[in-house]
Symmetry: C2
Subunit: 438 residues, 2 copies
């Protein structure tokens, strides 16, 4: 692949820098010892590149949500020009389902004003629905993004399993929103990089190692590298699989560039930016619909509610700290996929079983003087409760991700937060009400 010798001229380095930064990186890494001989201006180029990245325009779709809000602030703080596009429907669904985030979140306009007051940085806001193509096109033409980070989907598996209406809503909302985005990119921003939030749940629990998006299969004496087979576990997870297939196709036929982040279960509420002020606080869901396992356990521990482990608790999943979510997205943006490339990163830092994390919360709770019981309740989902699970996540590490580890952040970033807001807990929200059997 390396068509150049390590002794690149300044012009060649500059050219590669502008046209194919990934190859340049590759050459740099491959020739590290010899690069002591590189012209000093490579350093200048890196400075220049940093500068250029810092003026990169990133539209965060779903930027009012849990991951989206943390990501938008992080990127803004790092010097990117950030816009948020969000329909605010998630706040509406909270009302409909009579649930609420543990942490009191401010209206998006207040959040953004506070961010500007504190940092001097403006985040442009577009309130509207991704499924409304005319609105999306207008917003994109106005903002002119270099990258789009797409969190703007219905993201709860139980929500999608409530009934037929919610299954259809989830799939139509997610699939049509993403299709609209692909068409606007194809027509107006063919070089824009799409960073799309997928989920580790697309893979299910196969009895072989989970690779990152693709697997090389030898079969009857022939060989090919094909999309990794998917066995998603809810109509929500299915919608993400549909998206992945659609985006992959758009990259193949239109030459779009995309990175699919197959994210694990995110935990934590604090990031450097959202922790700056009470008005910037991020949401923290603990209810049976939108609450993810670890966040829910911490809140249960804080209010002396037994941890509710679904079934045997042997379900193993990938986890990551929300501080790593925002960093992963930044890494993906800073090193874009090539034109036509559909790149897949498995975005998690550690693997735990649900039983493991219940035990860790119990232990951490004890250290804070909390008495934490663990209850195994009937599993509302249909899933294997004991299975092989070994997933790869080397791509993001190789881009430089330095993971936060759960053992370090459990108490500071989660349990103490849960304790601080425990008076806001509504116990009736905690138990699962949606069953997969319908």
């Amino acid at each position: 692949m390396n068509r150049f010798s390590a002794d690149l001229s300044e012009t060649e380095v500059h050219f590669l820098f502008l046209t194919d930064y990934r190859r340049l990186e590759h050459i740099v890494r491959k020739n590290l010892p010899r690069w002591s001989r590189v012209p000093p201006n490579l350093i200048d180029l890196r400075e220049y590149r940093h500068e250029r990245l810092s003026t990169m325009r990133v539209l965060v779709i779903g930027g009012d949500g849990y991951c989206g809000w943390a990501t938008a602030l992080h990127l803004s703080s790092r010097g990117y020009e950030v816009g948020i596009l969000d329909s605010l429907i998630r706040r509406h669904w909270d009302n409909e389902l009579c649930i609420d985030t543990l942490t009191p979140i401010a209206p998006i306009q207040t959040r953004l004003q506070r961010w500007k007051d504190l940092t001097g940085k403006t985040i442009e806001l577009f309130v509207g629905d991704l499924c409304n193509h005319a609105f999306l096109e207008k917003a994109m033409l106005q903002f002119k993004p270099d990258s789009v980070v797409h969190f703007g989907e219905q993201r709860s598996a139980p929500f999608s399993m409530i009934d037929r209406e919610h299954a259809v809503l989830t799939q139509v909302n997610n699939v049509v929103g993403t299709l609209n985005l692909l068409y606007v990119m194809h027509e107006h921003f063919p070089d824009c990089h799409l960073v799309k939030l997928g989920t580790m749940g697309e893979y299910g629990t196969p009895n072989i190692d989970i690779e990152e998006g693709y697997i090389t299969i030898e079969h009857n004496g022939r060989k090919d590298t094909l999309p990794y087979p998917k066995q998603p576990g809810s109509y929500y997870h299915l919608s993400k699989v549909h998206d992945s297939h659609n985006i992959h196709f758009a990259c193949r036929i239109w030459g779009l560039r995309a990175t699919d982040l197959n994210q694990g279960i995110v935990y934590g509420v604090l990031t450097e930016e959202t922790g700056m002020d009470e008005l910037l606080i991020n949401r923290l869901d603990y209810d049976g619909v939108f609450g993810t396992a670890l966040n829910r356990f911490c809140i249960q521990a804080a209010i002396a509610h037994p941890l509710t482990v679904y079934g045997k608790g042997g379900q193993t999943r990938g986890f990551l700290d929300i501080r790593d979510t925002v960093r992963c997205v930044e890494l993906a943006i800073a090193t874009p996929a090539a034109p036509g490339e559909f790149r897949v990163f498995n975005q998690f830092t550690e693997l735990f079983s649900v039983g493991d994390i219940a035990n860790m919360v119990q232990k951490a709770g004890s250290a804070l003087g909390l008495k934490v019981d663990i209850n195994h309740i009937e599993n509302p989902r249909i899933e294997k409760e004991e299975h092989y699970f070994n997933a790869k996540n080397t791509n993001l590490l190789s881009l430089g991700l330095q993971p936060h580890l759960l053992s370090d952040s459990l108490i500071d970033s989660l349990l103490n937060f849960a304790l601080k807001y425990k008076d806001r807990v509504d116990q009736t929200e905690i138990l699962p009400k949606v069953k997969w059997k319908g």
Copy 2:
């Protein structure tokens, strides 16, 4: 698997017959020599089974379309109680796109009346949209199907590639219709067998053999049988991949039974039933949107229009005669998938490259005194024009399918038909107008 000896008692045979006919079949096949010793009443049981099948109620969704109409009549003729559910939207799309079937088709009500006059058999008609859940539920509750054959989708790749609106229409229409059906089956007909029309195009053109729906993968010393990786080539083909994932999930969590027929390119217009009367005639599409390669070539040959091979013509695909389509569906119905099973059959009988079939049409045309030229035109699609392609289709053959071969039916079933109606050809419809690049 065979828990029984070959010497089954009459009761055991009867029990197996009613509860697990597939295992009985398996035992019969495995022990064929010894089954000369089976009690004579097994013959009676087969008779009884035939009788029972003959009163099976089959709802054909999309029964006014090309494959659906032929299938509905065939099943009705074989003694099944048949209903047709169709929104008639395809006739509307013909008007919209200003295209028409070569063969003049009668209104569905006229077709059904003629069928009744000729055979005494009634086919119940439900006109409405699968995406309308209330309508579907009402129709299903009224008809009470034992099997549903689902052809009711937008089925053209070029149609889905016209623009964003048509891509979204195709995916929403196909995915939501199938989701609605799955929910009605789950709620009201959990034992009903879904026979769903998929497409061989779900697989794309991998560099390894294409298996039937699943592939056993050995990877890093472990092994699993997983859904075959999909690389569909249009937003339409993608919609079928989405369906397959959704149906597979519904079988896993709800125990529904389904057979996904990954059908190749169908050719021919005559079946035993549609050939009985001019009013029963099936549609034959030759336009650039709905016309499939072989049908289009025959009509081009009939009017001395050069055959339009897209690109190099090395694209290899599975093909089958429409008389085999109807027989495949009947075989799938007669031997249903087990509860919870998502069974996949690759439904084609022969593999040809597009160039091959152009040559065959040319040769057959010459035999009829037609002068047939072959033109290679710019490929409107984005697809590999030279590639490995080897797909398995053993499941339907093992159920007893006796394929019609293209070499035998080309002249009788297709070219002569094209000649008969050639005055109806509108040449402006033939060339492709939709390009994948958009």
